[in-house]
């Protein structure tokens, strides 16, 4: 099994509160991995440590065997680590075409070109079109993103992360707040991502997790409580006590 992303003894504390507690985590290449845990378990902090939004207090992060702990956020994207956000982070005044073109242009290293016209760049146009088609955004590609319905915006979140052609994709509660009907379509889109992309799904909704993931890590109070395939995790008494039980009640 080759490794896509790995953390070693990763810690993060804010003042006296430990949000990430000695986490050793491995995401295998091509994985469909889910990270679950109750509210406040430190999932989002962990994602922020992986993507470089936060700096760890100690420990390190490796992407494809290379230490990226000190690498900037944007450089991590260049190395193939992309993410979506739990709360939409979109370019509200842009259209989907522009947003996907932006991500593509940065990936192709075009961002420093001051004088080239976007539409004259055949590679940029082709790849932008491909992403829009894959995520079925072509019929709304000229609308302002801020005016689109929420479900479509969630789709753009994923499309924009995928447009960076990542080898590792972190999906932070992609279906959060999406109505049941659209949720299935959204998750079908996630399931249809190419197999060589390693996906880490951070999710609250147990149905989604058990349908999607082949491996699950449970995070509680910042540390890894359990890890294994879905059946193992579902049977684990500690998990049931700490998480599933609470989930069933709450």
């Amino acid at each position: 099994m080759s490794v896509a992303l790995q953390t070693f003894d990763l810690c993060k504390s804010f003042g006296g509160i430990t949000a990430t507690d000695h986490v050793d985590f491995t995401l295998a290449k091509g994985a469909r991995h889910a990270l679950i845990g109750p509210n406040g378990a430190g999932k989002t902090t962990f994602v922020n440590l992986l993507t470089g939004v936060l700096r760890p207090s100690s420990g390190r992060v490796e992407l494809k065997g290379e230490d990226i702990t000190a690498v900037s956020r944007e450089a991590r994207v260049g190395r193939g680590l992309a993410r979506t956000f739990q709360i939409n982070q979109l370019f509200g005044t842009m259209t989907p075409v522009e947003m996907i073109a932006l991500v593509t242009s940065e990936r192709l290293g075009r961002g420093r070109q001051l004088l080239r016209a976007l539409d004259r760049d055949a590679e940029l146009v082709a790849e932008t079109a491909e992403i829009l088609a894959r995520f079925r955004l072509d019929d709304i590609m000229d609308e302002r993103i801020a005016t689109l319905p929420y479900g479509k915006q969630r789709q753009i979140e994923i499309a924009a992360a995928f447009a960076a052609k990542p080898s590792v994709l972190l999906l932070d509660e992609p279906a959060a707040g999406v109505p049941e009907a659209e949720r299935r379509e959204l998750m079908a889109m996630v399931a249809g991502l190419p197999e060589d992309v390693s996906v880490l799904l951070i999710e609250h909704d147990m149905d989604l997790v058990f349908r999607f993931a082949t491996r699950i890590t449970v995070l509680v109070n910042g540390h890894v409580l359990a890890e294994g395939d879905p059946d193992e995790v579902a049977r684990d008494p500690a998990v049931r006590a700490a998480y599933l039980g609470e989930h069933a009640h709450g």
């Binding site: 993507t51 939004v53 900037s72 956020r73 944007e74 450089a75 994207v77 260049g78 992309a82 993410r83 956000f85 982070q89 979109l90 370019f91 509200g92 005044t93 842009m94 259209t95 075409v97 522009e98 947003m99 073109a101 932006l102 991500v103 242009s105 940065e106 990936r107 075009r110 961002g111 420093r112 070109q113 001051l114 004088l115 080239r116 016209a117 976007l118 539409d119 760049d121 940029l124 146009v125 082709a126 932008t128 079109a129 491909e130 829009l132 088609a133 072509d138 590609m141 000229d142 924009a160 992360a161 960076a164």
Partner: protein, 335 residues
């Protein structure tokens, strides 16, 4: 729908943003026509062109990259002094002086750009204001170089391209400023439509997502700040050259504040806002000054207050309606 047709539509969408609109062409034709139609207003037209260029400069950082500044006059004034001193001591050639003004202001922008990378809007407002104040103090205290409070006098300009001598009616001045404005505007228009320009809008809309999309925020902001500084320097140089005088006023706070007003009148983020705002601002100034020259500041202040309190929607609605009507006319006429 086949893949090919989506590609064509993407290309069309991306092209639409940079296509020359008939209304734009009409705008520039009007600017040229003004030279013939208003021969006695050339001096004020020249001021409008310079203010317009200055506003385009602010639009580049505020409208496109979302950087607020209360001290943009720093670059305007620096460019003005650089061009003025260059004309006085080195060469009277206007284009060389323009290049010097732009270069000097651009360099200042590059050097001060680290100051605007961090911190909140408030810190940025303060730091930009601080830089402008520092320059103002410097220009005041380095009297041997700048002429201090008396201003930089004795600037003699050569002819533009060795052909056109500046005249007292402002004929050459207006055409020269308009030509520089047009060239720099077209360049800016090109830049905002480039991958670089798109990344600036990304930073303005959402810095978090921009960096998660691989945009190196710092470098892009440094680049656009430097560029905008050079543009402001060009505007300052034009003022120094066409009036053959530089006073401390070029660095004054009210110049930065007025500039903000110009841009918010016209609307930020589409380049023409600065030009429309410059026209409106100068007309407004002219009208108010004609009946109450001394208290012009009061009316500008009142205008600002009312504008922010709710007048903006009104004015921008009006501009949009007019532009829309012109655009429809433009579209109808060629077909």
């Amino acid at each position: 729908m086949s893949e090919g047709s989506i590609e064509a539509r993407v290309q069309r969408s991306l092209y639409a943003a940079r296509r020359w609109h008939p209304a734009e062409i009409m705008f520039w034709l009007l600017a040229v026509a003004a030279f013939f139609l208003l021969p006695r207003q050339l001096l004020i037209l020249n001021e409008i062109a310079i203010l317009g260029l200055f506003a385009v400069s602010l639009d580049l950082i505020l409208g496109y990259a979302g950087i607020v500044s209360l001290g943009h006059a720093a670059f305007f004034g620096f460019g003005a002094y650089a061009a003025g001193l260059f004309a006085k001591h080195a060469s009277a050639d206007p284009l060389a002086g323009l290049a010097v003004g732009m270069g000097a202001a651009g360099l200042l922008g590059l050097l001060t750009s680290p100051l605007i990378l961090r911190g909140s809007d408030l810190t940025r407002l303060m730091v930009t204001l601080g830089v402008a104040l520092i320059l103002g103090e410097l220009a005041n205290s380095l009297g041997w170089l700048t002429g201090g409070a008396d201003g930089l006098q004795g600037i003699m300009m050569g002819s533009v391209l060795g052909l056109f001598e500046f005249d007292i009616f402002g004929k050459v001045a207006y055409l020269y400023s308009l030509a520089v404005l047009f060239v720099l505007f077209v360049l800016a228009r090109r830049i905002v439509g480039s991958p670089f320009g798109l990344s600036l809008r990304a930073i303005r809309d959402n810095p978090l997502r921009a960096s998660a999309s691989g945009v190196p925020l710092h470098w892009r902001l440094v680049a656009v700040y430097t560029l905008a500084a050079a543009y402001a320097g060009a505007a300052g140089a034009l003022l120094a050259q066409t009036t053959q005088f530089v006073s401390l006023d070029v660095l004054a706070f009210h110049r930065s504040a007025d500039l903000m007003l110009v841009l918010i009148i016209g609307g930020a983020g589409y380049l023409y806002g600065g030009l429309i705002g410059a026209v409106a601002f100068k007309l407004l100034q002219d009208v108010i000054a004609s009946f109450t020259p001394q208290y012009w500041m009061f009316w500008i202040g009142l205008f600002l207050v009312l504008f922010v309190l709710g007048g903006r929607e009104l004015i921008h609605g009006g501009i949009k309606a007019v532009v829309g009507r012109v655009a429809r006319l433009g579209r109808r006429s060629p077909t």
